[in-house]
């Protein structure tokens, strides 16, 4: 499947941001992935062409990073963190729930093309364990019931909002965000400071603790 001319235009815009063109390769791969739901041969070749690289050079990079998919991903990519912190606090159970619910195993896609599932490593959401991601948008402090509910809503096309504010779109849309294109969602959820982020500040305020600051600042 040929990639659109629009993608080529956007690729060139990304390249222009960097002092050296090749630096744009990772975002470029996200961009071609956003069009096809995977990094296809056509995507590899377009990146190679635009950067003056061989397809081997591009594919060697694309296969190094786990977020670039070699097979088409479903509409949504559900990731369950199974790294010990999340895994032990419930990720293992969530994985069980997810795969039972969807009848697919790791790196597989449901027959209707709706969901792909993936065991993922630590997402830097340990204080929110166990964490799940939908199209890489965070669904913190997940539990099996919420997971089932989320799947049902996604399937029904109902709105699902990440615990970090952004509305969930689909895998391809997120890939555009990862390529650095403005998705208009930057203000979602204000500063995202929930009780977990505020745990220390709240405690400090409640207990009259603060860092002494010179110059009358507080």
């Amino acid at each position: 499947m040929p990639l659109s001319d629009q993608t080529r235009v956007e690729i060139r815009e990304i390249i222009a941001k960097y002092p050296e063109p090749r630096s744009a390769l990772l975002p470029m791969l996200h961009l071609v992935q956003s069009e096809e739901g995977m990094v296809s041969t056509a995507g590899i070749e377009m990146c190679a062409e635009e950067l003056g690289l061989t397809s081997a050079e591009v594919a060697s990079v694309a296969t190094f990073y786990t977020m670039y998919k070699r097979r088409p991903v479903g509409k949504h990519l559900i990731g369950v963190c199974v790294n010990p912190q999340c895994g032990i606090l419930g990720g293992d159970k969530l994985w069980e729930t997810l795969t039972e619910e969807l009848g697919v195993d790791n790196d597989e896609t449901t027959e209707d093309g709706e969901f792909s599932v993936e065991r993922i490593e630590c997402q830097a959401a340990c204080t929110y364990a166990p964490a799940v991601t939908v199209d890489w948008e965070f669904m913190d402090n997940m539990d099996p019931d919420k997971l089932r509910e989320t799947l049902a809503k996604l399937r029904a096309g109902e709105e699902v909002v990440s615990t970090r504010g952004a509305v969930i779109r689909d895998f391809c849309a997120t890939e555009r965000t990862l390529a650095g294109l403005d998705d208009g969602l930057a203000d979602s959820g204000d500063n995202n400071a929930d009780e977990i982020m505020l745990a220390g500040l709240t405690y400090a305020k409640e207990n009259g603790m603060s860092a002494p600051l010179p110059g009358g600042d507080e």
Partner: protein, 882 residues
Amino acid sequence: MSTVAPVAGSSAPPADAVTCTIDGVQIQVPKGTLIIRAAELIGIEVPRFCDHPLLDPVAACRACLVEIEGMPKPQPACAIPVAEDMVVKTQVTSEVADTAQRGVMEFLLINHPLDCPVCDKGGECPLQNQAMTHGNGSSRFDGTKRTFAKPVAVSSQILLDRERCVSCARCTRFADEIAGDPLIELFERGAKQQVATGPDAPFDSYFSGNTVQICPVGALTSSDYRFRARPFDLVSTPTACEHCASGCAIRTDSRNSTVMRRLAAEDPEVNEDWNCDKGRFAFKYLSEDRIKTPLIRDPETQEFYSASWPEALDLVADKLADYRGRTGVITGGRLTRDDAYAYAKFARVALGGDDIDFRVRASSQEEVEFLSNKVAGTGLGVTYSDIESSPMVLLAGLEPEDEAASIFLRLRKGVLAGSTKVASVSSWVSPGSAKLQAVVLAAAPGDEAMVIDALLKQSSALSEAGFEVSTQLRNKGAVILVGERLAASPGALSAVAALAEETGAKLAWVPRRAGDRGALDAGALAGLLPGGRSLTDQTARAEIAQAWGINESDLPAEPGLDLAGILEALTTEQEVSDETESAVESADVEASEEQEVADEALAEDSAKAAVDQIAEEVQLGDDEPQEPRIDALVLGGVDIRDVPNIELMREALREASFVVNLETRLSGISAYADVVLPVAVDIERIGAYANWEGRLRQFPKVNPEATAQTDGRVLAMIADEMGYPIGTGDVVEYHNELDSLGYTTGERVSFNSVKPGSAQTPGSGEAVLASWKFLLDLGMLQTGDDYLAGTRRPSVARLSPATAQSIGVTEGDLVKVSSDQGTIELPLLLTDMPDGVVWVPQNSPGSEVYATLGDAIGSTVRIAGGPKAVSDAASADAEVSA
């Protein structure tokens, strides 16, 4: 795989030397020497896999860990240069190093299939060997091994067994750093990491075979050699490559006198550790369809019959004696220097003529003078190390990647190191030029002299980059490398000579064939005696006559005919006589009509004069039977497809009264020969080539049982029979004779500068034809090597976008390139090149220029669109962007 780092000066320590202690031994080495190399100097072999002396250190495999005093952890010896007073302990004296090395070795083996008995590398495998010396014997790993489907063909020539790979990345680093063809790369990561090619882009690098050689395990093997032999069955002989003028050192491995494989041999002065795939893989011709006995054409049946040597020699000597003074000698550029010398001597002594040429290709009188004046008998000139660190190397009519691959590698090394800059006068930016980051000074064929002249004059027509080139050419150490193709562009060699003169740049001539430089030095060219001597120089004549034991007056007095002259003599003499007859006839007619045209007095007079003169000549001919200038031909190793005007060559062969062909197998020439005399291929003899540097590349006999004769020996036998002996025919004798002759001290052949020509102006639907030969093509010595053929570059026609548009074709369309003689049809690849120029490969599948279009390079040809090509040009495109 091991090399020795430069040892510190034996007497006084160089200023940049450092002293360190390795396993208690104090040594001094040049600053920057890596520990692993320093250890080699005192005989300590630290294990290694990723390390290669010509690749940048990566310290990835961790096999070479050693203890360095003051450092908390063992360190990779392959990546750390010795420092002053450093104390290093290798596995020999350090428990820490030994344990670390054994630990790494154990890790390396857990996922290795240990299939040594069926592995091509078995018996010469660094992993196998080092596992023995630095490993623990048995493995404690009893888990699940990583498995891969095996083997994968990364190209038609190279196979990959991923299970055996140890991720040392030598192959991928070679492809990227040395060859500039990053077509294989590491894919995936962690334990899944593996070597692979891009989608639909095989590892079609001209240098791919080197990866097989440097793979420290049996992961990369060649399709050609797979399962064919075991190292302990092979006899290795150091030889010299016969494929081009690079002069690479080769290791030939044979079994029962059959060559099983060829490898690059290490020669730091020449090819370092590398060679090209042609040199490595093209050797099937050595055993293909060899002629075993002399063949004589039966005058009745016109068929060859096998004859005995005495019968054949008798016949040849008889005939050549008849045609003495009227025999042309043509050699094909693949002769050893000693054989070329034999031909040179044979022509002058036995045949009593000077009609000899080794340049079976586009050539010119300008080139004869250029070569005789500037190149012949000048000894070692510009060297590989000169071009590796030259402020500017100008390539004129030379595509080193295709035509002299080791030059390409050495230039690239210099370019990447920042010590060399390259510029090229060419019709387009070839993949090779791109990989050399060369400034390409675009020239349509025929315009080369003008472009070179602009560099000399620093003309305002130069681009900024061009001006920069012309300035850098004036720096000390600048070099101009001239390709043989330049001979076809009038004035170009003159312009180059003037440029060198003006700028002080050193000049070197790079022919394509391995034998060309030797043939030139040996005097296998009309007007040129051995050692760069001029035939017309008194000193030279005296020296040669004395060395050859003949009278000076026995040497031809005047320069003879070169290839063009010989062909012309054979093909026009008959016509001249025909013309003479018809001229006489017409003169008669005119004479009879004299009265009727009485008022045209002037015309009458001249006509009469012509008649008189012709009548005189005819008269003379009546007294002495008229002798054609050339009557017989002796041809050695000539491929008829190398002749620009093949039809003319065929006609000449037909016209010649007697044709002797010295050959290894029947060829396009043999078809016209009266006698074919079988000669030896390189593995059956000793010999030597002179490479482009003027460096002698000697090789021994690989096949001890071979009895085939060298060209030189056969010529000596003929000469004996003729009664004009030229020696015993022994290679060493020729060799010594030539060496003791040395170089000319007299006047060189003079060089008459030729005015710059210019490219023809194509009309609409026309273009000027540009072309050169790809490294891998339909060359005679590549026959039978099908895996190699699979890695050839695709044949495409190249046009500038504007020219393409003018004939209404777009990328991938078929383009028809036609002369009066025929048409070549190839898919179009749009290329940034001068308008009005079309480029096609010279001798590739679907594109045999001489055979199809005739002598058309540099001339105007017709171009037109054809139907849409079936095969697309995309793969060619990918390769170009590489």
